[in-house]
């Protein structure tokens, strides 16, 4: 069966202090189950400064998945690193803003906006 959500860890170049993870699909309960082991591993092994979640191809996000984002955010903050979100579509952005995530996790329109911050 085709997974609801797929992630793609983009390669980093020398001197880059951030790493991008692309999300493709729906971040609902099934999507959460699909990516959690891989994402947990990425977060655990993360050594750079900023972990960027690229939501440009993310169609849907539910409250449980937002809870998981908060868990990742809290873990990264604890080890002196940060989670950033880029490229969320209008629907996902509205959900994240409604809950107040934008107050906790910085959001950018795209990767360039993050790089030019």
């Amino acid at each position: 069966m085709e997974p609801t959500l797929k992630i793609n860890l983009k390669e980093t170049s020398a001197g880059q202090n951030y790493q991008v993870v692309e999300f493709h699909g729906d971040f609902d309960k099934a999507g959460h189950t699909d990516v959690r082991p891989e994402l947990d591993k990425i977060v655990k092994e993360f050594v750079l400064a900023d972990l960027i979640f690229d939501f440009a191809d993310l169609k849907f996000i539910n409250s449980e998945s937002i809870g998981y984002l908060m868990e990742i955010h809290a873990h990264l903050v604890k080890i002196g690193k940060a989670l950033k979100i880029v490229g969320a579509n209008e629907h996902v952005k509205e959900v994240l803003q409604t809950i107040g995530i934008a107050e906790v996790i910085p959001m950018y329109n795209d990767l360039n906006s993050y790089l030019n911050k």
């Binding site: 409250s63 908060m70 409604t98 107040g100």
Partner: protein, 351 residues
Amino acid sequence: MKSLITKFIAAYVIFSGLLFGIIYFFKFENSLWIFALALFVFVTAIIFLFIIRPIRAVLYQMQLVLGGKKFKKIYTKRVDEVGILAHFFNQVMEGFKEVASDIKDRKRILDELTVATELQKQLFPAEIPSFDDLNVTVKNRPATELGGDSYDFVETKDRIYFYVGDVTGHGTTAALIMSMVNAMIDTFAGLLNSAYEIIVNTNKDLRKHIKTSMYMTLVMLCWDKNAKKMTYVGAGHEHILVYRKATGQIDDIVSGGTALGMVEDVSATTKEQEIVTGKGDIVVLYSDGITEAKNTSGELYGIERLKKALAEYGSQYSSSGVCHHISQDLAAFVGDESQIDDMTLMAIEKK
């Protein structure tokens, strides 16, 4: 593994050879009869000792099981057919014991879940109170036995607070958080003088008690009984919809704020603002289980359908009719698709 037949044949050959040797050596008369009798006794003894007795031991334990009596494990070092039978019996009975224990555990968990479901039901208002200036109706449908949606009305001397909340996910954890928040709001409503203070203090306390992946979105309305004024405070919840009786229009208000339990202090992001209400206006609060309900094609019910339904039914019915008909509209949209999230719909009509 040496089978029982192999052992039996080997013993038979050895014994027959021995017997022939004895008869030949002592030159017995009628040796054929002696041989036949000795062989018969030997075969019978072998069959009894090595086959019938152990099988009877296994059968006896089986009879105890079938009779519902206490049975014993069969201890044997044999690895032949009888040994296999005994091991098979032991393993089957071990499996039965585990299944019986699982069934007992499952029954205990189900009993506890039933108690928890009943307790949670008791946390919701048993009946909707009647208020001088407002008509209120609520519909709540959890997705599982224990839901994460919450609603309540808390009346103090000067104010009435109404709220709808939604804890991340549903199930036991969500239900516990929901109960905790209900108790906090109930306490703070009696001690503090505004929805703003209640939300800020509830968040502060909740943050200490829940893990980082859990939070609760909530929207609270406050009706000032003296000033006849309605205000709202959002904590990262869904929009507030207001049906305007005079114009038939829907006002879509972003509730704002930050979900409870997410950060330590929400005092800066929380605001209490007024909703001006006229006679017949209906304010609707809901949880995302309504707008995120999907039909069989995977389409979401969405806020636009909800607004359309509110505009249609708001012009024809009071708060209870609006709740009823929106629920019907939602059920027709969802069709046979199963409910995946808790749903709560509250309608407050200005008399």
